[in-house]
Symmetry: C2
Subunit: 155 residues, 2 copies
Amino acid sequence: MKISKKTDYALRALFTLVQQYSQGRPISIGQLARRNDVPKRFLERIMLEMKVKGWVTSVMGKQGGYVLAKSPEEITVGQVIRHFDGVLSPIGCVSVHQYERCNQEVACRFRRLFLEVRNHTTGLMDAATLARVNDGKPVQPEEVYSMDLIGGAGI
Amino acid sequence: MKISKKTDYALRALFTLVQQYSQGRPISIGQLARRNDVPKRFLERIMLEMKVKGWVTSVMGKQGGYVLAKSPEEITVGQVIRHFDGVLSPIGCVSVHQYERCNQEVACRFRRLFLEVRNHTTGLMDAATLARVNDGKPVQPEEVYSMDLIGGAGI
DNA sequence: CTATGTACGATTCGACAAGTCGTATATTAA
DNA sequence: TTAATATACGACTTGTCGAATCGTACATAG
Ligand code: SF4
Ligand code: SF4
């Protein structure tokens, strides 16, 4: 499951809105774009999609902008990824929403591996509400490399 | 991390070779293609890449074909995916082999989520030798849906 | 010496990610 | 009232990549 820029940008904007949530004042597209390093016109598209989804609302006119439409506990990262990137499964034969049949299924040995990945990933993503994730700490540089010294393989 | 057809085809062929490994006789491209439902000319390309990688060897001439070049314990699914699809990370900022810097890293809240996915995925994939995976059972139809009844979200 | 195989560069074809543009419309401060 | 500041939204561009196909050269067992 590859995360597209679009999804990444959407999440950046959402978390900015979460952090502004208590304050109640809307943030303009311009501000969102600048603070998160996203092309403004592109972000416009993205916010529009999220508005249709009911995650944000917009306030028009001067002093207008965007506000989170739901409480941060009600939106999960999984929902966002699923909307923009379509699917969390690494391959069609273990997907529910976009299942693709494969005639090798009955004999396939490695399908189980993908199923395990999918189960773990969805578990994590669907438990990740904006509220919970926002309370976590940013990743420290060393953490990125931690696994690789063990496996020797990397990434 | 999306699994491409190419990777999937490569794995199908490899596991066929694993199952033939004890026998020592080569299998022709034609047979591999038919048994695994892969376009023949396309598989040709793929086998060639795997030969360069040292995973398989080819025997030319009549009665020729392909044989596994290493023992099934020495090849992991992780290696195969990494070769054909480049990367196991869901996003560049948590990748080691193809790290892409992002200027939001120091403040980013959801990066940790992707790091966790990456860690679990690589752990699984790098522990999955062809031998070990080949000894597992195929997935039963119900298993695909198991998670979704809990999370309510699917995939 | 030919049937049956692999070797390999070149090429096609379509889909999709990422981003841009132009213009219409809404709201409010001055 | 109107200028300034917003969002709304369809159309368009551009590049990359997955997936696959072709043509032809070469190897060797029988
Ligand atoms: S070969 Fe196995 S993993 Fe690949 S699509 Fe078919 S069932 Fe799924
Ligand atoms: S915004 Fe966060 S998750 Fe996205 S690329 Fe930057 S650091 Fe990684």
